[in-house]
Amino acid sequence: MSAIQLAQDAVNLNQGLAAIGYGLAAIGPGIGVGLIFSSVISGTARQPEARGVLLSLAWTTFAIVEVLALIGFVVYFIATAG
């Protein structure tokens, strides 16, 4: 009996797979957030007085991109709970 139990536990890869999936899902938003703020930095370097406008635009875009990573995080918990 316990051998079967052990085998089942060994086969249950859900948690590890979910963690890998979240890692993969975080790549895209990571690149996106990086691109957003790199544009803000270079934009500010070219035109320092536009910093305020650029930053408020950046936070709105950042929020849109960031939610992808956060949805991945929520999905991770849904996947591991099942």
Binding site: F62, V67, L70
Partner: protein, 256 residues
Amino acid sequence: MVLASGDKFVAPGVADFFLPPIFGSVTKPMVLLVLSILIIGAFFIAATRNLKLVPGKFQFAAESLYDFGRNNIAREQIGAKDFKPFIPLIISIFTFVLVNNLFGLIPIVQFPTMSHIGFPLAVSLLVVYPVYHFVGFKRHGFVGYLKHQTVPPGAPWFVLPLLIPIEFFQKFILNPITLAIRVFAAMFAGHLLLLVFTLAGEFLLLNGGITVIVAPVSFAFAIALTFLEALIMCLQAYIFALLSASYIGMALAEEH
């Protein structure tokens, strides 16, 4: 890593967020929610009861909060023409989310209310969502508003059958949900991260043999993450208010 004694380390999970009820079916987040409203109300009443031309410290704090919400969030996102009626709403949302997030850092309280999905979802579905669609319908009329929200200007006609359902899905279904998930997931993840490092530190300290020497590292990480968490809490409250204002602004905007 081989531990000298004690049982295995159990990583904290979702179950740690469901605390036993305080009395009846009243739980900690509910109490904190009421507490936050009392705190915000008392703060603004106390700060504005005795207004002076030269503000004291207390009045200055309240004024800069108001100024931030008015100029940096509402006016920038909604536009200088019709942002005035929305200032109280935006500032209420901002302070409400901010105080509820900051509960996660205050000793003894130490629980961000927004880490339960129900609370941000209620704010976004019952407050923000009706408001911005209502003002949109009022401004543009029923058909006009639907067209305004779902047909992006300048799109060629042959992509419209594809674009309209996507835009509709995003504007009417996805927006309020992502607004709530954003603050919920950030609070949940942050609180879980603090739990992991604190509990791991405790476990290493109490149950480890030689591993006791790495326990301070874990606690140091927990402290550093607390500061990061403070930043994220303020940022998420700002983003929540900013996006609410931005949705209202988009609903009100003239054809561009």
